[in-house]
């Protein structure tokens, strides 16, 4: 079982109960914070003897003085029959009001440490602490794997909202949670009797009754030598038992003193186990260190967030996972298919290849690339590899290159098929690296490397034809892309831009059916979306969705896209034919790298044509008035200045800080990059101050903008590539 499995299953199973400990723990952490206000400053050099003298003067019936972990002193005693307990001021022994043993109900503490089940519950809570320690450790291993080592631990986190939350929160509280679990285990083992803290039986000592009366506290040498700051507990000799002795407990140990002579009768040093225990209590409860208690409380509460986001990540991955049917054991298979995929989409292609090979009579084994291994029966090897982030391997296949480099070269020929998106500079970089590694090691090639763009089924089928030729078999690949469950959207309004010479464009605004809480909980219905995310539209009769950038978010209450008609475009034709009241099937695809997640830095928005749509969405929701600067490029202001009235309105409302436009088909016009060049010095200034950049438009426009910006940034020793790596520059190109 790998770290991931440990983390997942312990998290899912023990996690629900750990929630109880987390929430109650967060609640209990309030106690040290509330208690801290009762702490009084201790006068420098105050001895226990002086303290006892002062308290006794103010409270003649005092029997015991304790110093609480918060730093407050409490005196207990009797006034006749009446039991007394109150805070005392160490400066003068005066009683202070407000003493209560705890500020919180006791059941919370009992729920936290024993789940209200007595000793059985204590064992249960200890088991949970052990589980929590394991979850933290496995979490650290997974975190290091995901981030690429200690040096990148603080780097930016990519992924869905739940993934990011899990990693961001986990990264901060992991150490605290690990520490609390370990200290909890130590504390449990003492309570459950597995560890003995005591130095042995207490000595049986008595004061020797003589002629003289009891010695006042101020004259007892041992009490004079002990600092009031180190005191834990001081018991006065009993008024009714003449043989009783002083008993004093400090961090270092406990002593007994003859009440008449003032001579020390016995001293026991506290054991090492006891000292460790004292530290464990401070670390676990935060008592005597309230800022630490605040941190502990936050860590406890964060378990809720971690559990929820972890559950969500697991559930999403499970829904997206493709289970390979008809897998043969590797030792018997003649065809091996290895898959590297971050989000699971490549597994669908693997299943299609797997099925096609089985239909041709092969025995096929398909598994993750991290398990790469050939056997004597292997005749063909296929590697289907997606690329993650900036050309990295998907997380589960991080060690794959190294592993392939280590294993002996097999006799079976290898075919590598890459999956990626040409929008990214490192298109299919991982597949390319794999292919090169195979060739360099001396594996034979079954087919040259092929790279599939945006999960194109057509391209995949074409590769299948090449494979059929190479194998000399009638192989046919049928890959039906998995379309997520869709929701019916209803067109409520449209705004048309007929266009002068080229194709018309329309801004379409849709409504979606409201979700009840039940649907929300189950993740049914239209997912929450933000401007910059994508909506997948499934035209009737076509299985393949088309994606459009969203010009609005869920908060706006409508879903808006800007669609240009393409002559042979099935989807755009369908959309342009819609009348208000008509319906389409749609689903949300998140675009986490592009959407602006509540950032506070200034924003430079660069868009051309319909590419202005997500940028308009950003500005529309700029309620915090973050400085946003829009550079817009079109052809003719009379025909294709989309969202113009809104944009002018946003300028007035200061949702938009500045607007620069450039139109190519008017006299003296140009492209959006010309507007950038014109504004070079201001852009340099913005980017030096940490501004982030969002670019949306056609692919050639994106390339030109990046080149132009590289030119502008040259003097700052910055580049678009560097900005991209920091997550400050993102493109949505089509």
């Amino acid at each position: 079982m790998g770290w991931k499995a440990v983390h997942r299953w312990l998290g899912l199973v023990a996690g629900c109960l750990a929630l109880v400990l987390g929430v109650t723990g967060a609640f209990l952490a309030a106690d040290p914070v509330l208690q801290a206000r009762h702490a009084s400053p201790v006068p420098a050099g105050l001895s226990v003897a002086a303290l006892a003298e002062r308290v006794q003067r103010a409270m003649p019936g005092v029997e015991e003085i304790r110093r609480l972990p918060s730093g407050a002193y409490v005196a207990y005693g009797f006034d006749g029959e009446q039991a007394l307990a109150s805070y005392v001021d160490p400066a003068d022994g005066r009683a202070l009001p407000g003493y209560r043993p705890s500020e919180l109900p006791r059941w919370v503490k009992n729920l936290h440490r024993s789940l209200l089940l007595g000793d059985a519950g204590r064992w249960g809570a200890a088991a949970l602490a052990l589980a929590m320690a394991l979850i933290s450790c496995s979490g650290l291993v997974l975190l290091l794997r995901r981030m690429g080592g200690w040096r990148h631990l603080a780097g930016p986190v990519r992924g869905s909202l739940a993934q990011r939350l899990h990693v961001l929160v986990g990264r901060i509280v992991l150490v605290v949670l690990c520490l609390t679990s370990i200290t909890a285990l130590y504390m449990s083992s003492t309570t459950l009797g597995l560890l003995d803290l005591d130095a042995g039986p207490e000595p049986d000592v008595v004061s020797t009754i003589g002629n003289q009366g009891g010695l006042p506290a101020a004259q007892v040498p041992m009490l004079q030598s002990l600092g009031a700051r180190d005191l834990r507990k001081l018991n006065f000799p009993s008024a009714t038992d003449p043989e009783d002795a002083w008993k004093v407990t400090t961090r270092q140990g406990q002593g007994w003193i003859d009440r008449y002579s003032g001579q020390a009768l016995a001293w026991q040093d506290s054991t090492a186990a006891q000292r460790v225990y004292d530290w464990a209590v401070v670390l676990h409860t935060g008592e005597s260190a309230w800022p630490w208690a605040v941190l502990l409380g936050l860590a406890g509460a964060s378990i809720v967030l971690l559990w929820w986001s972890g559950l969500f990540v697991w559930w999403r991955a499970r829904r997206q996972a493709v289970r390979i049917t008809g897998n043969s054991p590797p030792a018997q298979a003649d065809a091996l298919v290895f898959v590297a995929s971050e989000d699971g989409s490549t597994w669908g292609f693997a299943q299609a290849l797997h099925d096609a090979l089985v239909r041709c009579g092969h025995r096929v084994h398909t598994s993750g690339l991290e398990k790469f291994q050939t056997t004597p029966s292997t005749r063909y090897v296929f590697v289907l590899a997606a690329t993650y982030g900036e050309g990295q391997a998907p997380t589960h296949a991080r060690q794959a290159l190294e592993r392939i480099g280590r294993l002996p070269v097999g006799t079976a020929p290898v075919a590598v098929l890459g999956f990626g998106d040409r929008q990214f500079p490192a298109f299919c970089a991982f597949a390319k690296a794999l292919d090169q590694s195979f060739r360099a090691r001396g594996w034979r090639a079954l087919l040259p490397l092929e790279c599939i763009h945006q999960q194109s089924s057509q391209q995949f089928a074409a590769w299948g034809e090449a494979l059929a030729l190479a194998l000399g078999e009638p192989l046919a690949l049928n890959h039906a892309p998995r379309v997520p469950p869709s929701t019916t959207l209803t067109l409520v309004s449209r705004q048309d831009y007929p266009g002068r010479t080229d194709q018309p464009t329309a801004i379409l605004r849709f409504q979606w059916p409201r979700r009840g809480w039940r649907d929300r909980l189950r993740g049914r219905g239209l997912a929450h979306f933000a401007a910059g995310d994508l909506v997948g539209i499934v035209p009737p009769g076509v299985g393949v969705p088309r994606y459009y950038s969203l010009a609005s978010g869920s908060e706006d209450g409508f879903l808006e896209i800007c669609v240009r008609l393409f002559p042979d475009g099935l989807c755009s034709t369908h959309l342009h034919g819609l009348k208000p009241g008509d319906a389409v099937q749609a689903f949300i695809r998140r675009n986490p790298g592009f959407a602006l997640q509540g950032r506070r830095q200034p924003v430079v928005l660069i868009g051309a044509g319909t590419g202005v749509a997500p940028l308009a969405g950003f500005i529309r929701r700029n309620d915090r008035r973050t400085p946003m600067h829009l550079y817009y490029g079109g052809r003719d202001p009379a025909h294709d200045f989309y969202f113009e009235p809104e944009i002018r309105g946003w300028l007035r409302e200061q949702r938009l800080a500045s607007l620069q436009t450039e139109f190519s088909r008017i006299a003296g016009g140009g492209y959006v990059q010309d507007a950038l060049r014109r504004d070079a010095s201001r852009l340099r200034d913005l980017l030096r101050r940490g501004a982030i950049v969002r670019v949306c438009g056609s692919r050639p426009m994106g390339r030109d903008v990046a080149q132009t910006l590289d030119g502008i940034l040259g003097t700052l020793r910055l580049s678009v590539q560097q900005l991209k790596a920091k997550g400050r520059y993102a493109e949505d190109l089509f």
């Binding site: 015991e64 207990y76 009797f78 006749g80 029959e81 039991a83 307990a85 043993p101 705890s102 006791r106 009992n110 000793d119 003492t190 309570t191 009797g193 003995d196 803290l197 005591d198 039986p201 207490e202 049986d204 018991n235 009993s238 038992d241 043989e243």
Partner: protein, 163 residues
């Protein structure tokens, strides 16, 4: 009320024991103690019920409520006095007693212990609260049978019967 009363009471019973010189019965007597705790507002209390002789020396443990040995040091008097009694826990332990609850203890006593200056004591302690050594002390006399004694902090009432 009891604190002021208890001293004369002991004095008078000791006097009675000396003067009356009850006939010594061969068989023992059964002691049934009923203890009700106050609503002291804390977790279940640890209690030690034990006998001391007329000099205050430990004689025997009648009952210990609370199962964790690591907390016995909070029953300070009993823990100190009974330290040398290896059998102090033999067959006389039970669960801790919740605030406001009543519990009963029975024990067989030799006749010689009654009206002979012996005393029943209860030490009590609860988590995060004060230890209360000798929370209640009551002389073991036939005259005290059925009478109620209030403790300092934890014990609302202690009564006993002898059969």
């Amino acid at each position: 009320m009891s604190k002021h009363v208890s001293r004369p009471l002991i004095a008078s019973t000791v006097a009675a024991a000396c003067t009356l010189a009850l006939p010594a019965l061969a068989q023992g007597r059964q002691l049934t103690l009923t203890t009700q705790l106050k609503n002291y507002g804390g977790d279940g209390a640890y209690l030690a019920v034990y006998l001391t002789d007329s000099k205050g020396a430990y004689v025997r443990t009648l009952w210990v409520a609370g199962g964790k040995a690591k907390y016995y040091k909070h029953l300070t008097d009993w823990n100190r006095l009974s330290g040398s009694d290896a059998r102090r826990l033999a067959g006389v332990t039970g669960a801790s007693v919740g605030a406001g609850r009543t519990f009963k203890v029975t024990a067989d006593l030799a006749d010689a212990l009654i009206d002979a200056g012996y005393e029943i004591r209860i030490d009590a302690a609860a988590e995060d609260m004060r230890d209360s050594p000798s929370d209640v002390r009551m002389p073991l006399t036939s005259q005290s049978v059925g009478k109620s004694q209030t403790g300092k902090q934890y014990v609302q009432s202690l009564t006993y019967q002898l059969k």
